[in-house]
Symmetry: C2
Subunit: 237 residues, 2 copies
């Protein structure tokens, strides 16, 4: 196979975090080396000759940020010839949605610093990473409207209000999304993927204690495998 090709293959990871207090955030690293030295960017790096793309993202992500994620979903591949000023680099991007607070950030190798950035207060990003990020956000928002994802972003036991808040934070594109509490609850309950617990949770201030629920993974995957979920929210005309 006499192929003369000078293209490098990289992977980038878009890790989105959610907390009830701060909403959506993205995990970024501050680049130690040129190009885009000292600029913020998505964690990522070059694929090794004998590792899969998935292994590569996971490895680079952990190396640069200390965040260890087993499963990232492929987002898109970016290959414009000039997306890296040095030479030709094609990048396969992956994304994941996680709870930021369970990770200990730790900048190493190519990263001079690491941090979570509020999705609405992002710094300028290196390469075409801004583009990747937008695409990932779109994907997540879209996915959320037809498939109940994001249960791993809540505590094991959660109240309906928590779930509602999560949806509003991710989908809410500034313009606040109006989801009716009552209807939201009915819909989610009817899906049969959440279990009611015998406990309640006291409210911070005043107010009736909220019933706690738990996500049922078995039923979720069973449902998912035999046919797609219905739309979670109706379409507006």
């Amino acid at each position: 196979m006499a192929i003369e090709q000078h293209i490098l293959l990289a992977v980038d990871a878009l890790v989105l975090g959610y907390t009830p207090d701060s909403g959506l955030s993205a995990l970024l690293i501050k680049r130690r080396y040129s190009p885009f030295e000292k600029m913020w960017a998505l964690p990522g790096g070059f694929v090794k000759d004998d590792e899969s793309l998935e292994d590569a993202v996971s490895r680079e992500l952990e190396e640069e940020t200390g965040v260890k994620i087993e499963y990232l979903e492929q987002l898109y591949s970016f290959g414009k010839p000039d997306r890296d000023p040095r030479r030709r680099v094609v990048s396969v991007s992956y994304y994941a949605l996680v709870k930021p607070d369970i990770y200990q950030l730790h900048a190493t190798t190519d990263a001079e610093d690491v941090g979570w950035f509020d999705i609405n207060k992002l710094p300028e990003l290196a390469f075409d990473h801004r583009h990747i990020l937008e695409m990932g956000l779109d994907r997540v928002r879209n996915k959320m409207t037809y498939e109940p994802i994001g249960f791993n972003l809540l505590d094991e036991k959660f109240a309906f209000a928590d779930l509602l808040k999560l949806y509003e934070a991710i989908i809410g594109d500034n313009k606040k999304l109006i989801i009716d509490r009552a209807n939201f609850k009915k819909k989610l309950k009817s899906l049969g993927i959440i279990e009611e617990l015998p406990e309640s949770r006291k409210q911070p201030g005043s107010g009736r204690p909220a019933r706690l629920y738990r996500f049922n993974r078995e039923q979720y995957f069973e449902k998912k495998n035999r046919g797609v979920f219905e739309m979670l929210f109706p379409h507006r005309s």
Copy 2:
């Protein structure tokens, strides 16, 4: 940038064709060289150092098959270390849906032969191309349920029955999909992306002549840009 990487980057094209008579088919080439010599495979090849991924697929597709398609949509990137027996090759796959009969097939370079294969009578495929194909089919089928694609597969002027047949051919997974003629028409009409023409078309045998329609691309893209289309078909419980 002292990177020692020995990964080759390729692109593969999944071109699906539709004719009223034969239904869905896939465009395949017969490999001239090892590995998988004389086996059928998706058209594709290595990306050149200075061309975009999109240019690469289009070029390789035309070189190997004579089929010239301006726009292919990215499907997925495949990067398992052993997907090519010779050495490490990562492939970015693209797909498109076309009318087969407008193309003149012409096998050249790496292809010893080219042809359209009925989607239900496919030969064994080289590499992981079977997997790519399945994934592409899923994507197309899924997309079709929430977005009216496939108008370019029909003649400029078409009858509703043609459209219905198209949907049944693509979505119909053996188990026949029951779409009510009347309801299908109402739904499509209500989308406002098709125009009624003053003409009719005689039936091959007997039967009332069918009204002809035309797809309105402007209205389609306008609608598409501001908000997603509604689901074309309801979900079954």
